[in-house]
Symmetry: C2
Subunit: 455 residues, 2 copies
């Protein structure tokens, strides 16, 4: 039955859009969360334009087939995990971009990479700020579906702050235009923002209108090593209470050593923590801010503080920070956390995780977008060691519990996907959860869009 | 029947919360849109805490009584117009604020004025940017319900960019917490953003968590007079393509003369337009930007350009711009427009309105938050002159039609309310309109919340 249903879809689309080759299907089962419970899709569908996405969703609605939308599959929460009996709808072939330098906006299809968007707008002297660490391999559509964050968010905000408009195909195949290249528009409910971060559960994004900024100014970078994590996190609070750095990143001792193992750049392996901070304010202000941050680091016990106005030198430290996840991954399998807390609770979160690692006898490396309270504890384990794998799973939940106790969230920027779904109801509480459910039911009554993810 | 129903509500609330005095009821019939079709409410209810709001909405749901939520009644689109047989729920008595300088957030009840929020956070060296012209008399709850804009939006964004969390009471009386003092939080759908700008149609906001910035730096101000409007609007495009001014405001000849009539500050009455621009960047950068803008004004035909780094001198011109609406109001009754366009269409919008004023033989003054393409055409008419009033009404619609033809919106920052509702479906189109309706029906199935407004 299912093969004739797929044939029916295939007959309505251009050659090559619907793929059923088993090897290709296998490569679309998981995203970077590598969910071991991933299903195998009936087909992978790679449309090239909005009308084809509409065709797919009309067909899926009629036959009650689950649709898992997917960008480049770099998600870390299993938001694009395939489900048995469903299809994967990949937007990777939709890659157009039009930049309007006067209105300072770009209209982009979802399959373009974040780095490609940055490059295309840079040709006009413009800048698209959001910068998830995976920006060279993740798609803009996936960024919008997860409301992705990054390193510059501490000053420039997250993805939703740059989304002015969307074209979205709903579960029934209707294509809706929301918002557009207008900096202010309050006509109707804020539906554009509702779709940002909806993880493919409400519709499929087929076009986005992005707000752009003038090119970023070269940053002054400050790097500081601390004997322990507490000094570093206390310095964060001293800084963010007074100024707006363009970056304020944290790595703990495990991350420092993992990065140093790979990059051999002379990081202090004995340091408890390293902070990498930057200011991109213009004129003398960037240097003033860098000096303010350097002083805040010294005041909070930094052993060594290094300041540079050379962008390449600064970028080397930022690259080291970006490299921390792959570097720690070399130590074993990872459970990658993404908890965030109100900034004042950051020190307690980081020291709480240290304590938890000791209690569970696990290596947990903490890296963090410290300036907005968003941390990525990396739980390292050996999947062949059943007891350790069990302890890692326990720690995964305990870190979320700790964050929530401190007034924080179970996910700051990666999304709920399938990995964190068991914790969502507990975090939101029954009333907010019911409200999420009411919106989902109103927009996708048959539940065909990304079932099992988010809600 | 209705009086016993009101008595039932009254018995569930503290003394004085429910008001039925006819003189008081009369004063809550209209907001600043002065809708002539406003009804008379059965009661005005002024709760002091969330639990009382819940009591009101449970009662309203049970008895199917319409609830019109209201802040300080400064709305310009009739979003708080009372309806016959309904109640007005005013949040004016809910006025608490708690500032957390470390996390740089404030938790505020909806009845506090925007200016009071600014003042309370300034005591901690912090700044709440959104600045509608009515900031001294409008409530923060109303600002959130309309996603209010203002003068600094061109650089700092609109209200929604500063809302991290909400407590909302739904139609059935459930109180839901959404978001909170976390700079990044993607756990669940983006419901906080959905309620911002929902004009009281989805729930009643009883508490908001605001994101704050460090105090603004003193601005450099540039004032330029132009012989005609085109040079001014062309200069706007030259500026926003390159830099991020903190203000970029426009007044046409009618507004200049109306302000000069009242303030006698020596404005050039023969000028076709005046631009008031500012940069609050620090160090030498603010002065650099001011000089860049001054040159852009000269390059586009400015007759006179005046630059000052004295904040008080600059503020006098900003105050003149803020005073434009009341000043023009002295010329007659006003229909106050709020159309916005993609920035590249601003010159065509402004010259198109000039042409329309000539064709309809009307005085239409254009003031604008030019830097984000948001204009406020003020249509002046004499209500005693039926023919003129008719022409004014026609122009009101024609200006929206013009904006939409230019790729713009029918409302940039004031909201749809009841005044612009007839134009919403045409602007959004049937599919986006249906989507708005689905969300409304999902959250307020009986339609008791602000019926007749927005959707």
């Amino acid at each position: 039955m299912s093969s004739s249903t797929i044939a029916l879809l295939s007959s309505q689309l251009s050659d090559g859009v619907v793929v059923t080759d088993p090897d290709i299907l296998a490569s679309y089962r998981q995203d970077r969360a590598a969910d071991p419970d991933a299903g195998t899709p009936l087909a992978v569908v790679r449309p090239t334009r909005t009308e084809e996405v509409q065709t797919v969703l009309r067909w899926a609605s009629e036959h009650r087939i689950a649709v898992v939308p997917r960008g480049m599959g770099t998600g870390l929460s299993g938001g694009a995990t395939a489900v048995d009996g469903g299809i994967v709808l990949s937007t990777e072939k939709m890659r157009d971009i039009t930049v309007d330098p006067v209105t300072r906006t770009a209209v982009v299809q979802p399959g373009l990479l974040n780095a490609e968007v940055k490059k295309a707008v840079a040709a006009y002297g413009l800048w698209y700020p959001p910068d998830p660490s995976s920006f060279e391999i993740c798609s803009i559509g996936g960024n919008i579906a997860t409301n992705a964050g990054g390193l510059c968010c501490v000053k420039y905000g997250v993805t939703t702050d740059y989304v002015l408009g969307l074209q979205v195909v709903l579960a029934d195949g209707t294509a809706v235009h929301l918002g557009g290249p207008r900096l202010k528009d309050v006509a109707g409910l804020s539906l554009t923002k509702l779709f940002v971060g909806s993880e493919g559960t409400l519709g499929v994004i087929t076009e986005v209108t992005l707000r752009l900024l003038p090119a970023q100014h070269p940053a002054h970078t400050v790097v500081a090593t601390f004997p322990d994590v507490r000094g570093a996190t206390d310095a964060v609070l001293a800084i963010t209470a007074k100024i707006r750095p363009s970056m304020l990143e944290f790595m703990d001792n495990v991350a420092i050593n993992a990065v140093e193992d790979k990059l051999r750049m002379g990081l202090d392996r004995s340091a408890g923590a390293i902070m990498v901070a930057a200011s991109d304010d213009r004129g003398g202000s960037g240097a003033d801010d860098a000096e303010f941050m350097a002083q805040a680091f010294r005041d909070n016990g930094a052993a060594e503080v290094f300041t540079t106005s050379d962008p390449e030198e600064g970028e080397a430290f930022v690259a080291a920070r970006r490299f921390a996840i792959p570097a720690v991954e070399a130590k074993g399998s990872l459970l990658l956390e993404d908890v965030g807390v109100p900034l004042s609770a950051l020190p307690d979160l980081v020291t709480g995780i240290e304590k938890l690692a000791a209690e569970r006898d696990l290596m947990i490396s903490v890296i963090a977008h410290a300036g907005d309270g968003n941390t990525h504890p990396l739980i390292v384990f050996d999947p062949a060691d059943a007891d350790m794998a069990e302890r890692a799973q326990q720690a995964f939940g305990e870190i979320m519990d700790l964050a929530v106790r401190l007034g924080g969230t179970i996910t700051g920027e990666h999304g709920v996907g399938r990995l964190k779904k068991p914790w969502l109801a507990g975090y939101l509480g029954p009333d907010a959860m019911a409200l999420n459910r009411r919106i989902k039911d109103a927009l996708d009554p048959a539940g065909i869009l990304n079932p099992g993810a988010l809600i």
